[in-house]
Symmetry: C2
DNA sequence: CTGAAAGCGCTTACAG
DNA sequence: CTGAAAGCGCTTACAG
């Protein structure tokens, strides 16, 4: 008995050929019951685990999927991850979550991610330069985009109806008599920021009102961003009666800063968020927001990826799935009549 | 020009041997400036990316590390992940976060994780059976344990001073006159639950008081767990004046349920958490808790792993690093005199 | 139903 | 400083 390892060792102790071991492992061709039993016994005896490197070297598959997120501490993304796992684990894929640390970090991490040859990758394409996008396309890695079309042949995308959600928020605020409405976006170059602002504009237009561009500031999709955004808005004017924020984290930061300035919510200023993370119901006053179906986004993205991975892929037309959103009215907007401080 | 791919294609267009290309890539032996330039030009021209499977097949290394967490939607873990990335990315390692979905899921996911042959793996060992632990040890994968010794030769561990933190919480509550103190743990078999309860006991002992075992219930480390825990405690008696929860999520759920029962916090009952997640400062009343230095735990774990990976490993004695914790007093405990409801 | 053999894309002694 | 060759552990035609 020589010092073989891996599949060769299994073959030797089972008294069969290496190919046969491989076949019982993969199930790619019929193996007699007796042989299968011998092989499985040998596998158990030796505690054999296939080497994924060797396997992927031949099969060109890694059976693993990456989710590349701009900020894993934003509670939206863990939910997307959980949704993807719901679908991927039963299908035999391992999901790796990779944190870029910031929107602009996504491009920086992309090279590392492509090197690893994941079978598929889900990502928010904001923060990707055109060059990054081209690299992704060339890599041949299956991509599913979260939030917007990435413009690669055969790459599907899932989004929630951001514009519709912000239109509902806008209608709600206008309906309660608010008129001096400011908007705090995330990164200016980001599509969610634009789409969400677009929804708000749409609400204004629907009510026959003009939206003033000077009511918009851009920061980042973080709590700090919300603080900065309020500061920037109040440099422009001080009579805001509502602040619409591009996500809940921004809204929570905005509330911090408004309170620090001695303003009362919602009496002086209403505040709204987006995503409906757990914290939205926990802050005081509780935050009016829009439910962004994060887990369902994850599930859908995973299913799209699996479908492409199973078929031969590029032939099918690009799929674009939009998930609807739901307005969640809470205390941060519900007092329609401004009172004195 | 034949249809070579990978390193062979690079070698061909650069006019050098395959080994030379490998050497400029790895830097494992000196290469002349001129040769290096030719090779790099060819790499750029072909858009060559090394195949990680082939590489790991020979080198026995994957340059990737896994963080296996019981629940990625618990905001504690994303922070640990960020801390690990702080250290790993500059060192050339990719961190994959893997979500077990629950404490008991950790064992189930372990097999998948070991198969992938990560160079190192960081995990909370709660939820691991002895068999799982044995599998880990046999796999030869570098392990760093979060929270407690895993009992594998050469495996280090990082913990925060849970017992100390709960002793401080206990002293704080006893110091404000609370005496009927209930404890809601997470999973009963989990070490954090036991350690944290131990800290509370220690505070009682320090004050010359007895802690009643009937004051303890175990649920799970989730918001739902907190709701269930309160229900269980109030089946036993109804005159609690403080509820100590094993983490912030439990505490938030406990507050939900106390409020539903018409109890006022902290006037009727004080509530405390552990971790100091963002939500702790956002709930109303804000939650007295203990800061658990999640990001620093991640950084430390990553450093321990890298040190083992760099050296030849097992010779060095097991390292055990304890990070101190800090009491954060907020509104959920600050009204010492019980009032009527 | 089973086996022998080629080859996936690298790294690493070995030789010069 | 550079190259030819073996081999890491698998999968997959090819043959029987």
């Amino acid at each position: 008995m020589t010092q073989k390892s891996g599949i060769a060792a299994v073959a030797e102790t089972a008294g069969v050929s290496v190919s046969t071991v491989s076949q019982v492992l993969s199930g790619n061709r019929p193996v007699s019951e007796a042989t299968r039993a011998k092989v499985n016994a040998a596998i158990a005896e030796l505690g054999y685990t296939p080497h994924p490197g060797a396997r992927s070297l031949r099969s060109r598959r890694t059976e693993s999927i990456a989710l590349l997120v701009p900020d894993i501490t934003n509670p939206f993304y863990p939910l997307v991850a959980v949704g993807m796992q719901d679908v991927l684990l039963p299908a035999g894929y391992l999901l790796s979550i990779l944190d870029a640390g910031s929107q602009s970090g996504t491009g920086r991490l992309l090279g590392h991610v492509l090197e690893r040859r994941f079978d598929g990758i889900a990502l928010h394409i904001d923060g990707l330069s055109d060059a990054d996008r081209a690299r992704l396309a060339e890599s041949g890695t299956r991509v599913v985009a979260l939030g917007r079309d990435i413009g690669i042949e055969g790459s599907d995308y899932v989004e929630s109806d951001d514009a519709g959600g912000f239109a509902k928020l806008g209608e709600h605020l206008l309906g309660t008599g608010r008129r001096r409405i400011g908007f705090i976006g995330g990164e200016e170059e980001s599509d969610p920021s634009r789409l969400r602002l677009g929804g708000l504009r749409q609400a204004f237009a629907g009510a026959g009102l003009d939206y003033d561009d000077a009511s918009t500031v851009f920061t980042s999709f973080t709590r700090d961003g919300g603080r900065d955004g309020v500061a920037a808005l109040y440099e422009r004017r001080t009579d805001w009666d509502a602040i619409v924020c591009a996500n809940d984290l921004i809204a929570i930061g905005a509330m911090d800063e408004l309170r620090r300035r001695g303003l009362s919510i919602p009496d002086d200023v209403a505040v709204t968020g987006y995503d409906d993370i757990d914290a939205a119901a926990l802050v005081h006053p509780s935050l009016t927001t829009v439910e962004n179906p994060a887990r369902e986004i994850g599930r859908t993205a995973a299913r799209l990826l699996l479908t492409r991975l199973a078929g031969d892929g590029d032939d099918a037309p690009t799929q674009h799935i939009t998930l609807s959103t739901r307005l969640v009215v809470r205390d941060s907007t519900t007092s329609p009549i401004p009172q004195e401080r």
